[in-house]
Symmetry: C2
């Protein structure tokens, strides 16, 4: 009998209904909180006016399952049903009408908060709740605390140190956009990266915010640009040598796809290690990094690729078979829940079993330092087998093919 | 005997030494001009301090050829030598020490000028000179005038109307970055797009500026991001329906590579025409465009791909065989001059002859509405033949293969 795959969803969401955050909130911001709750209700009304049929159908069909957003017992049932052993838990569980959002929008669009006091108050409220939530089953959870580092680096360091003490919290999410604060390549953030590296807290950006001020509410432009702005911080760190200064630092870009890595790693490796196209610049760039940019992937840089496209699976060796992590996006409607098993059968049937194991769980276990044995015990009960996915259990990857995925290294003779 | 390819370089540069712009400049800005010239000399001194060996060797080896930056007779000799019949002519001929830059930096980094008066004065000086320069041989030149539209839309309209009257001026370049001015998806620019569409002036962004304020002088981050910021304006127009409102408008992104089109067109086509991944958003996005985003390429959107990489040539059908234009980047050292013939042999030997004709010249002739017969007469004298490039003159493209390049249209059943 084949072993069951340990599936770790690299992209899930949990959170209270906005009003329920009240007991977790610092009393000094209650007036602003009442305003925020009213604004959230108004937001739902507007969504219902535009899209009532779709919203009502989604919420009715998934009524019980959606309570897993805040109920850890129901949540584990949903994970079991989907074949998922462990999960990475971000904020903002309600992607349809935005009701389960941390106070003041401190979740996926945290950069939009302009008042540092509210930014930290909202983050703290969610983090206090998240710590309780993850403590109910810390083996299955890698909770991601909210840390609005752009507003206050020292306070961010303290939040990281607190988060690292909480069972089941394994990372932090920073604002995607730094706005008028310092860019993430700035050395003033170094105490924060140091604290994350030392405590093993994995740093994240997650799709949500982008350069809204320049979109005139044009959703097409937003959707077009959001991947760039989401992966931008990781490249600012990488290309300014942050992973040289903090070799244990890990950074994950979540739900922004993975396809962009193919070209950005090609281009980055050439720029830093394939000098002949860049005569003028090579001299100035060299010295920042000790390895090719692509060589930091799978060590420091990871991609929470969520529900990967077939093209991303085909490109898995150029994106990186050791850095890419599949995810369900539960309980968001654009994800695979509650039909994850069907989707896995559809997309993974023709993949080698070792690649499948890495993409579905092993990369995440390594990235988040999760308890593999405890997860395997859960997977033995709920996880899919190669046979269930329609795979040939004797089909393994060809090392030459894996190496050829990063075709540019040979074609440009890239080296440092 | 095979016909000679008409090579039109989609990316060349010309300009006076900065001091020589004086007679073309409005007298009201002479004080600022003296400061600018002094700053340019200082810039050269700094470059020499860092990189003297390289600069001296480059300038010595190419002394005569570099005078083609401003001497149209020498320039034609350089084009002949390289096998190039026609060319698209941008500002900023000296990419090594920045001496041949329009006043106040009105060329490739025009967005950095904060004073609208200087922005237009610098642009006007270069445009007056460029009109003379192109008039010396308008068949071979597609001169690109400078138009800092972000500062003043009405004045930009007037500049477009003037430029359209000049023999050999066939387009305008706008600032890559709009900074605190309106983004290019804003309807306030519509009179400018209308003027360009009506007069046949092709709009350009050209690699140069990026989000400098956020780089801390980190060249690695700059090089990483400059393609995004260069193609960003074209997508703001495309995705906000500008090519629906102005069907004759053409936009070219120059010297920012072409590779990014593969993934951005895949993603854009899905977002607008492959609804099933985007249930929540599809309803809001649809209606802006009447065609898939990729279908505007080759009609409204073109890519001045400069010295294409082998990978970009391999991907020519996904990038778009009807929208991609090769270029030498003469007289910049990162280009192919004075070894263009060797580079063409190296890169095009195994390509079909019809694809080669499109990439090397026919797409540019169509985009810029150049005089094909007159260019063919020049090409018959200087242009490479398929045999010279080592090609099989009977090797033509396979229509099924061309269609398969945009693989996502079938895989996602994309349609509007």
């Amino acid at each position: 009998m084949s072993k069951h795959y340990i599936v770790v969803s690299s992209d899930c969401h949990a959170g209270l209904h906005c009003e329920q955050y009240r007991p977790y909130l610092d009393p000094s911001v209650m007036d602003e909180f009442d305003q925020y709750v009213a604004e959230r209700h108004n937001h739902r009304r507007m969504q219902m006016e535009m899209n009532a049929d779709y919203i009502e159908q989604w919420e009715k069909e998934n009524e019980l399952g959606l309570t897993g957003a805040w109920d850890p017992v129901q949540r584990d049932k949903e994970l079991d049903h989907d074949g998922v052993a462990g999960e990475v838990v971000f904020a903002d569980a309600d992607a349809v009408t935005g009701q389960e959002s941390p106070p003041f929008g401190a979740g996926l669009a945290a950069g939009r908060i302009t008042d540092p006091r509210l930014a930290y108050a909202g983050a703290r409220a969610h983090n206090r709740w998240l710590a309780e939530f993850c403590a109910a089953n810390p083996v299955r959870r890698a909770g991601i605390a909210l840390v609005p580092v752009t507003h206050d680096v020292q306070r961010a360091v303290e939040e990281v140190q607190w988060a690292a003490q909480q069972p089941g919290i394994r990372g932090v999410m920073i604002p995607t956009m730094w706005h008028t604060n310092k860019p993430y390549n700035d050395r003033s953030y170094d105490p924060f990266w140091a604290a994350c590296a030392e405590s093993g807290m994995v740093v994240h950006t997650h799709s949500g915010e982008a350069d809204f001020a320049n979109y005139n509410d044009n959703l097409g432009v937003y959707v077009h640009e959001v991947p760039f702005f989401t992966h931008r911080p990781m490249f600012h760190l990488l290309l300014s040598g942050a992973f040289e200064r903090f070799p244990k630092l890990k950074f994950v870009v979540t739900e922004a796809g993975a396809y962009w890595a193919s070209d950005l790693l090609w281009k980055s490796d050439i720029n830093f290690g394939g000098g002949h196209t860049m005569k003028k610049m090579a001299a100035k760039i060299k010295g920042t990094l000790s390895k090719l940019p692509s060589e930091y992937f799978g060590v420091n840089c990871f991609i929470g690729a969520s529900t990967m496209s077939k093209e991303e699976l085909r490109r898995r060796y150029s994106i990186g078979i050791d850095c890419t992590m599949w995810g369900t996006d539960y309980p968001h409607p654009e994800g695979t829940w509650p039909h994850t098993r069907d989707r896995l059968k559809k997309d993974f049937a023709h993949l080698p079993v070792d690649d499948t194991a890495l993409l579905l769980g092993e990369n995440a276990i390594r990235c988040y330092n999760m308890d593999r044995d405890a997860l395997q015990a859960i997977a033995d009960r709920v996880g899919p087998t190669p046979e269930e996915l329609g795979q040939d259990p004797n089909y393994f990857s060809d090392p030459a093919e894996v190496k050829a995925g990063r075709w540019w290294i040979a074609e440009y003779d890239c080296h440092m």
